[in-house]
Amino acid sequence: MPAFTFNPNDLHCLNRLVFISGRGSFDEALGGHRSRKIGEGTDFLDFRPYTPGDDFRNVDWNVYGRLRQLFVRQHEAPRQLSVTLLVDCSRSMVFGVPGTKLQQAQRVACALGFVALRGGDRVFGVAFARQIVGWAGPLMGMRGLHNLVAMLEKAPAGGTADLLGTLQQMRARRRCRGLIIIISDFLNVSRWDEALHLALADGAQVLVVQVLDPLDRGVGLAGNLRLRDSESGQQVDVKVDPRRLAQYQQSFETAREALEDFCQHRRQYYLLADTRTNYIELVCQVLRAKAVLR
């Protein structure tokens, strides 16, 4: 398996990016993201009538001078965003030219992790295949990036991808909240729709990053071939001619669009990450355009 390489120098352009907190649920911990909860923040939110027991330091005396009634100032409570990075390490992710999809996924995960950690968010790194094969977190601060990279490097690649099972395990750990970034090719991911429903059920925001390679679209296949599934070992005899290749690509594109439509209909984020695309460009431009980052 190609070694995962990650150049920290490439992250300089990510320094000023932070996640936009959307509809996702926040942690109770104090953070840098605005929330609708009233708390000890500095941003004014609203007034409310004074009730016994309120802190007199929050009484707005100017309003009392005008209205002769006691009103208490309410402020936003900034919360911490929990970013969970789910990286698919199944065998189908080790394909790709020149770099594998797994390498691209790891780079994207690191970039997003860097943005999250630098934005003061709490990051969980999860590598999964049939089950969770790597776990890092909660990670805080830039020192957590090292742990994230180390976890991704050590995570073994192989087997099938069970996204639903992985999310069920995370839900059991109460980690299905905040921003869940699923980085996978979604090729052999069965019941991915159920998995996404499960992630959305607890109010999490989901960012689906589908990593694909031209080989996934059948580029380079021709002739009478016996194709073997990388994960299940199942084989099929196929005579690959232009007509049949077009049929395959149409079927593939339909499946990909189904995933994208699923996300759009549920106001979730979808990102198509090609292996030939620079991951910095993906994170900077594409995610900013999709209002995931600012």
Binding site: R91, S92, M93, F95, V97, K101, D185, L187, N188, D213, L215, D216, G220, L221, A222, G223, N224, L225, R226, L227, R228, D229, S230, E231, S232, Q234, Q235, V236, D237, V238, K239, R244, Q247, Y248, S251, F252, A255
Partner: protein
């Protein structure tokens, strides 16, 4: 099973790259893709672990290996294993094989061509032997697989001036027939004068005898005998001519003396023997030959050679009381100087070569006489004393090789009573003819021969008057054989006539020096020396043989073979089919067209498979 091209099996090693290429191609064709879900919608899923799938995968490999096997087998040229075959080729080299038939070539040439053509069709693994059927069989090539040697032996065969003995040759060929090897014996001959039924009946061998005739029946004239004889005016040359198919043909007969034509006669060939006589001066020792110009197709028997003998007048003294029959027989030769005397007239002063004592007792033996013939009487030196006559039966024993018995059939002698002799120990007696242990003709030599005494003594131990010998043809033969033997030691006939093919006993002119003999063509002929006897074995050509540079022997063909009719073609048709030889030719197991088609099919299938499958395989990833 035998293989015509066993090296083709080296091509079977191609199976290794074929198998390697198959597995390489199999693995190269299997492409691992990240996911198969969408392909499953387009193709048929395969259970790669099922037996059917495994066999289906192997089927292509098996087809390729079978194609390769078929190609190798086709190239190897298989043929069913056969038992080794041996062929004995017999070529008749008799004089009649020199006959030039209507085709313009001699029969021996046609026989050689047929033999060479047959050799080309024989099994190259078989053994071939070549026999030359002449006066005696000669093994030219012992059983061998070396076809070049066989061809060279056949090509070197030439017809000789002699009669061939096919029976003896077939007897020799039987020795070449191996018990465990099927053998074909093929005899190429014109079969002139051959009793085919007898020839085939004599073939007592399991081997297959094939008689291949060559030549056509052609007329011929030949000199069947020739000699010189004395007559009242000197000597004359007599030649006997015979013919077949040339009756009443007028031919010219030419006499050459020392290679110069001296006389020519025009004769009409009779139905039987035609006698031609030339009366011309003949110097002793001169060579002469008689040629018949008959325009026939066999010229070898149209010429006869002779040497005028060193004849001299023979002096014979007949001591008798009177025997007209004996006297008339002795006077038959004009060259003989006969002196008939009584016993009292015998003295030592007479110049006689041979003395014949006819039933009279003589007192002394005069010297300077070469030989003595005592007819029913003892000798004065006391070696033999006759007793009373005793009956005897038929002749039972005789010395056939003795010059006395040349051309004599002893069984024709009817001797009712013999005269037993008592022999002195001073004489050593050799019986020449006897009847039931009773000697009839003996030769006596002194037990201790005195130096210089070389006289010969012959005794006829019966009373000539009591037999009918004088009325028989045997009598002059026996008498003159005896006289010639006593005078010269040899018979005149033996000196005058030599036939081709018979070894020639040479007479040394210088005792310590081996003779040097040149044949008629001037070629030096090796002489085989055995003890004191020098033999000339190669007398296969008619002509004058020169010993130490001088004409010494005239060797003649005198064959009637050219005059013999050839067997009827229908008689030999069944026996002359060369196709009966098995196997006649190398019989490949696969017919050549089928083998070529198989080769072409294999190449096409291989090419098609390469075009259809190999070029479409693309490695990716």
């Amino acid at each position: 099973m035998i293989w015509g091209f066993p090296a083709a099996f080296y091509f079977a090693a191609l199976a290794i790259p074929v198998v390697a290429a198959f597995f390489y191609r199999r693995f190269a064709r299997v492409h691992e893709v990240p996911a198969l879900a969408h392909w499953l919608e387009l193709g048929r899923a395969t259970d790669v672990h099922s037996w059917s799938s495994w066999l289906r995968r192997l089927l292509t490999l098996l087809v390729q290996l079978l194609l390769l096997l078929a190609l190798v087998l086709a190239l190897a040229d298989p043929a069913p294993r056969r038992q080794l075959q041996r062929t004995v080729i017999i070529l008749d080299v008799g004089v009649s094989m020199q006959t030039c038939d209507a085709t313009g070539c001699a029969r021996i040439v046609a026989a050689r061509e047929q033999a060479l053509k047959m050799v080309a069709t024989l099994d190259p693994d078989g053994q071939i032997a070549v026999l030359q059927a002449g006066q005696c069989p000669v093994l030219l090539a012992s059983p061998t697989r070396d076809v070049r040697k066989v061809r060279a032996a056949i090509a070197a065969v030439e017809s000789l001036d002699l009669d061939s003995d096919l029976l003896t040759t077939l007897t020799t060929a039987r020795a070449l027939v191996a018990a465990d090897v099927p053998t074909d014996v093929v005899l190429f001959s014109d079969f002139a004068g051959v009793d085919l039924k007898g020839l085939r009946a004599s073939w007592l061998s399991p081997a297959h005898l094939l008689l291949v005739p060559v030549g056509q029946d052609m007329p011929d004239a030949a000199i069947t005998n020739m000699w010189t004889e004395s007559d009242t005016r000197g000597r004359r040359v007599v030649a006997l001519l015979e013919q077949r198919g040339l009756t009443n043909r007028r031919v010219s007969v030419v006499l050459h003396i020392n290679d110069d034509a001296v006389a020519t006669q025009e004769v009409v060939l009779k139905d039987s023997v035609t006698r031609v006589e030339f009366r011309t001066p003949l110097a002793p020792g001169a060579t002469y030959d008689v040629v018949v110009h008959a325009d026939d197709t066999l010229s070898a028997d149209d010429r006869a050679y002779g040497l005028v003998p060193q004849y001299e007048q023979l002096g014979i003294c007949l001591v008798t009381d009177g025997d007209p029959v004996l006297e008339r027989a002795l006077r038959a030769d004009p060259n003989v100087r006969l002196r008939v005397i009584g016993a009292a007239e015998l003295n030592s002063a007479a110049n006689d070569d041979v003395v014949i004592v006819d039933h009279v007792a003589i007192p002394v033996l005069p010297g300077a006489v070469r030989g003595w013939l005592f007819l029913g009487v003892g000798d004065p030196q006391g070696w033999a004393k006759p007793r009373a006559a005793a009956p005897c039966g038929l002749v039972t024993h005789w010395a056939g090789a003795h010059p006395l018995m040349a051309d004599v059939d002893p069984t024709l002698l009817r001797i009712p009573a013999a005269l037993p002799f008592d022999w002195n120990a001073a004489a050593k007696v050799t019986e020449l003819v006897s009847a039931n242990m009773v000697p009839l003709i003996v030769e006596a030599v002194p037990a201790a021969p005195a130096p210089g005494a070389a006289a010969r003594y012959i005794y006829w131990l019966f009373d000539l008057q009591q037999t009918d010998l004088a009325r028989r043809l045997t009598f002059p033969l026996l008498l003159w054989n005896t006289v010639d033997y006593l005078a010269t030691g040899e018979t005149e006939h033996a000196e005058a006539s030599h036939l081709t093919g018979i070894p020639l006993k040479l007479q040394r002119r210088q005792p310590a020096v081996a003779p040097v003999v040149q044949g008629p063509d001037g070629r030096r002929i090796p002489v085989k020396t055995n003890a004191d006897v020098d033999l000339l074995l190669d007398t296969s050509r008619a002509g004058i043989y020169r010993q130490d540079g001088e004409p010494a022997y005239a060797v003649n063909l005198f064959s009637r073979r050219g005059l013999c009719p050839l067997p009827a073609p229908a008689e030999l048709a069944r026996q002359s089919d060369l196709a009966q030889i098995q196997p006649t030719a190398w019989d490949p197991w696969l017919p050549r067209p089928l083998r070529n088609a198989l080769l072409g099919l294999g190449v096409l299938v291989g090419l098609a498979e390469w075009l259809l499958f190999h070029r479409r395989v693309i490695r990716i990833g």
